[in-house]
């Protein structure tokens, strides 16, 4: 059940590709609805797929921590002079780096499928920054939770619970104008919608700094908080 095993890396990459290929056909006509800023659904949907991949991948990284605890891998590391902080940061940053590479691959494939990136290569770099922060936020949260909960079942239930609504509330699928008002309020507090919003802007519109900068600040804040939370829980649970 580890995200590090090749089969999971594969599944985690294939799934978004299926979304890209399938949903972009199914919802092709959606762009005729008012509120869409793009006239290609693929253009609109690709940023959502990238963000979802990073979101799912990072939310589950706590499972790696649990597995390492079970297999004695963690204990073995804890018996060396490596600082506790670098162990937990290694776990979090390690899994996020894999996910960023995946995000880039999806971006590349989307581009081959015909997605125009309004901001070009610099936009891709900014996207890397955005998904890194999103990933750190969720991986930090998930790892901290893993340390608190230890047995995997509650963690699985909890992560499934939070990732589901986060996904739907996040207008990854449709523009916010088409969503009911309460969801629009909820999305203000949702890191997923902030990342989708800015990546979508980079792909479709260009540098909308008035959108991107606040999103970056919020994502950076959440990432910092969550990595601190994981580190704190780890320091608290180990000697």
């Amino acid at each position: 059940m580890s995200l590090r095993t090749p089969i999971w890396l594969f599944v985690n990459l294939v799934q978004p590709l299926v979304w890209l290929l399938l949903f972009s056909r199914v919802f092709e006509r959606m762009v005729d609805l008012p509120g869409f800023t793009s006239d290609s659904y693929l253009q609109f949907f690709a940023p959502g797929v990238i963000i979802m991949t990073v979101l799912f991948g990072s939310a589950w990284t706590g499972m790696n921590m649990i597995q390492d605890m079970d297999l004695g891998i963690l204990d073995k590391m804890l018996a060396t002079p490596v600082t506790r902080v670098s162990i937990v940061l290694g776990q979090v940053f390690g899994s996020v780096s894999t996910l960023v590479v995946q995000a880039l691959l999806i971006f590349l494939i989307a581009w081959i499928m015909g997605v125009d990136i309004a901001t070009g290569f610099p936009g891709v770099l900014l996207t890397v920054v955005i998904v890194t922060m999103l990933g750190l936020g969720f991986a930090g949260f998930s790892n901290g939770l893993a340390i608190v909960m230890k047995p995997p079942d509650p963690l699985i239930a909890f992560i499934s619970f939070i990732t589901m609504p986060l996904k739907f509330l996040s207008y990854a699928m449709v523009p916010s104008d088409l969503l009911p008002g309460w969801i629009q309020v909820a999305k203000t507090f949702n890191p997923v919608s902030h990342s989708v919003e800015s990546v979508r802007s980079l792909v479709i519109v260009g540098y909308e700094w008035n959108v991107i900068i606040p999103d970056l600040l919020i994502l950076g804040g959440i990432a910092t908080l969550m990595v601190l939370w994981a580190t704190f829980m780890f320091r608290f649970r180990t000697i």
Partner: protein, 346 residues
């Protein structure tokens, strides 16, 4: 006051107690010292508290009370320094399965802050020493249990620690591989002069390998000393008797009367009953064995098999606890019975 005395000890554990959440008293007042350059065995049945003690010494677990020192450093206060000076291989091999053997070694080399050149040189040496050179480029997932244990051992000494702590280095391996690992450990002590504390529940291993042994049961050390000292505590020999033919269980009446009869003989020191067999501890087996037979015959009690053996550590454990360690492991076979079976097969 006793500091100068203990300065020679690589490991000093005093009045250690560990109560787990939920109330299990896993370690219940353990004290022992391991001298520099010593090969020290921690022997005990499953659940005795060996791993718990080890985890406290390796800074992985906080003791409920008591102290543990490694090279004079308290494990709670100087945990970072303790970690740098010990090597540790846990009971469960905690190695990244997706990486190769060499990659794991290199990773731990970095954990111990060795430079790249040193890591490369020592990895080569250790892979050679552990007979893993050929497999070093393969994923650990493809390794056998024995290969993993050897790799784990290599990892635990990549930084040339002064003190090496091994929790069941041979558990779950076949006797031949166990013997190999034992040889590796002996070599390490002889060549590098390091101190080794290892746990085991194999009597013969503790006996052969270690300079000194502490026997632990239910979280307490029941006795300690050199293997010879321990066996000498059981002066004399052990005569094992089977009273019935295979399969049939000895009736309590026969057992009791045999015991009663033998107990009153002046040459008998102690009698233990294991699974319907009797272990009679006597002064001098060669002359006392025929005497036992005569007493039994004279009272109309039939002896099916009889054997004579020098005391083993198992007898030491038996003497202190009234049980055999093998019973604890859920195997009904006692040492005496195994000896008998071997004799039958001949």
């Amino acid at each position: 006051m006793d500091e100068p005395e203990r300065a020679n000890d690589s490991i000093a554990v005093k009045d250690l107690v560990k109560v787990y959440k939920g109330g299990v008293r896993a370690v219940d007042g353990v004290s022992f010292e391991v001298k520099a350059g010593e090969l020290f065995a921690f022997l005990g049945p499953n659940g005795a508290g060996k791993s718990t003690t080890i985890k406290i010494i390796t800074t992985l677990l906080k003791p409920t009370s008591g102290t543990a020192e490694v090279l004079g450093m308290d494990v709670k206060i100087h945990s970072a320094r303790v970690r740098s000076s010990i090597g540790y291989a846990a009971q469960e091999v905690g190695i990244d399965e997706n990486a190769t053997g060499r990659e794991n070694l290199v990773l731990y080399g970095h954990f111990y802050r060795l430079d790249g050149k040193t890591i490369r040189r020592r990895s080569d040496e250790l892979l050679e020493l552990m007979d893993l050179t050929e497999e070093s480029g393969r994923q650990v997932a493809t390794y056998s249990g024995g290969m993993r244990k050897r790799l784990d051992l290599a990892i635990s000494i990549i930084h040339q620690p002064q003190v090496l702590i091994l929790d069941e280095p041979t558990v779950g391996l076949d006797p031949q591989t166990r013997g190999h690992i034992g040889d590796y450990i002996r070599n390490l002590v002889q060549e590098l002069g390091i101190t080794v504390l290892f746990t085991t529940h194999y009597m013969d291993e503790a006996d052969k390998l270690s300079d000194r042994i502490a026997i632990i049961d239910h979280g307490r050390i029941i006795t300690s000393g050199t293997p010879q000292e321990l066996k000498d505590e059981i002066s004399g020999d052990v005569v094992s008797l089977t009273l019935t033919t295979d399969g049939a269980s000895t009736s309590d009446g026969v057992l009791d009367s045999s015991r009663e009869m033998l107990r009153h003989q002046p040459f008998v020191r102690e009698i233990q009953e294991i699974d319907g067999d009797l272990n009679v501890y006597v002064e001098k087996g060669e002359t006392d064995l025929p005497r036992i037979l005569r007493v039994m015959d004279g009272n109309g009690l039939t002896v099916q098999t009889i054997s004579l053996s020098r005391p083993t550590l198992d007898d030491v454990f038996l003497k202190y606890t009234g049980r055999t360690m093998r019973d604890e492991e859920g195997q009904r076979t006692t040492w005496a019975r195994m000896q008998r079976d071997v004799r039958r097969r001949k």
